[in-house]
């Protein structure tokens, strides 16, 4: 949910940064979206199409890098991939685990055009 307001935030940040660098345009936006970030990829893509309209990123190519979730076990210190929040350690069965990756919701980088 909120993919639209998140898309709007993305555009706002991109515009801010582009202005800081006196950009004439933005040709690419690279987003890091964790698979457990709570964001629905299709909804975000759709929302981004709307949000970039009339902005400096209107013609930018959008890259969505989906980050797979990785958890670490506090008991045996092993790291493992996980597809959901039920991250029971596959090595020692402990529930004492935490997520290392997978909840990202950030703008990795943008490509700007300057004259």
């Amino acid at each position: 949910m909120h993919e639209l307001s998140i898309a709007m935030q993305i555009v706002e940040i991109v515009e801010d940064e582009a202005k800081k660098h006196d950009a004439a345009g933005v040709s690419a936006v690279h987003l890091d979206i964790g698979t457990l970030s709570g964001i629905e990829p299709d909804a975000l893509k759709f929302a981004m199409e709307e949000a970039v309209r009339h902005s400096i990123a209107a013609k930018a190519e959008l890259f969505y890098h989906f980050i797979e979730a990785v958890a670490v076990c506090e008991e045996c210190c092993n790291e493992f991939k996980t597809e959901d929040y039920f991250k029971v350690c596959p090595y020692c069965n402990s529930i004492n685990t935490s997520l290392l990756k997978g909840k990202e919701l950030k703008i990795r980088s943008i490509d700007i055009q300057t004259n």
Partner: protein
């Protein structure tokens, strides 16, 4: 553009005390029932006729370069949340973000806590709902200062709303601030309010697989209150199963079972509050 519904107006949010008009000027935006008449939405550029000067001689001179940002998208909310957090820490205020589905008993738990503890509970309350002053009126009747935030179409509170509401409350040092979030087990999990602890509340009538169905909320909470224990004889609710499931999502989650109706378990809740 409004992030909730995509329309042109930005602020449908109101902040009120029971009996008062708006403390803050916000745009009362009525959407109407079925039709959205937003004349400003459609501009001609949308049809792809860009009569612009895209292909200019300057093209040969444009340089493209990459700027690394590594910037969190929700950073705006997080910055304000951290400001709230610093304020709470400075004032030694324990801010509790109460989240749950609608109807789990958040307001009833607060009402009972405020009524039973009276003066001993030095507290204030921020209430969040789409509409009505109902919850704020109940809290005021119980005896605590309260501000009601009505989000309009919004489905969660965010740090800015809490920041505005708390300025209207005369918060005291060494007190508790209860923030009763909008009844919703999904969206509030994404929005840090600057709280000290997050308390997720479920009731025994909601099924013991709640943590499995709404893991993001349980993962971000510190305490889980299981309310309406007085109804246990009438429902199929496996207390152990709900705790086991929740611990898989969040091994650090604490649990307290209680009934705001009969008072059972409330003393454990009061003791937990004291410890914070």
């Amino acid at each position: 553009m409004c992030g909730t519904c995509g329309c042109g107006e930005d602020d449908h949010i109101t902040y009120r005390k029971p009996g008062e008009y708006n403390l803050f000027h916000a745009h009362e935006h009525a959407h109407g029932d079925a039709t959205h008449t937003h004349a400003h939405d459609h501009s001609h550029e949308e049809h792809g006729h860009q009569h612009g000067h895209d292909h200019s001689h300057d093209d040969a001179h444009t340089h493209t370069h990459s700027i690394s940002l590594e910037r969190n998208i929700l950073s705006k909310n997080e910055l304000i949340a951290e400001r709230n957090r610093s304020f709470f820490e400075g004032m030694k205020i324990v801010a509790l973000n109460l989240v749950s589905s609608p109807g789990s008993g958040k307001t009833s738990i607060l009402e009972r806590s405020i009524t039973e503890l009276g003066e001993k509970l030095n507290c204030a309350v921020i209430e969040g709902d789409q509409q009505t002053l109902n919850d704020a009126e109940r809290i005021q009747k119980a005896g605590a200062p309260v501000i009601q935030i009505n989000t309009g179409n919004g489905c969660h509170l965010d740090a800015l709303m809490v920041n505005k509401a708390m300025k209207a409350l005369d918060l005291k040092q060494n007190s508790i601030l209860f923030i009763e979030n909008v009844g919703n087990l999904v969206c509030p999990s994404l929005f840090d309010l600057g709280e000290t602890k997050r308390v997720v509340i479920i009731s025994v009538t909601e099924g013991d697989d709640k943590p499995a169905k709404y893991p993001t909320m349980f993962e971000t909470a510190h305490l889980c209150l299981i309310n309406k224990t007085d109804l246990l004889p009438y429902v199929d609710f496996d207390m152990e199963k709900v705790k086991e499931t929740a611990l898989k999502v969040n091994p650090r989650l604490e649990f307290i079972s209680l009934s705001a109706k009969t008072g059972e378990g409330m003393s454990d809740w009061y003791a937990w509050m004291q410890k914070q």
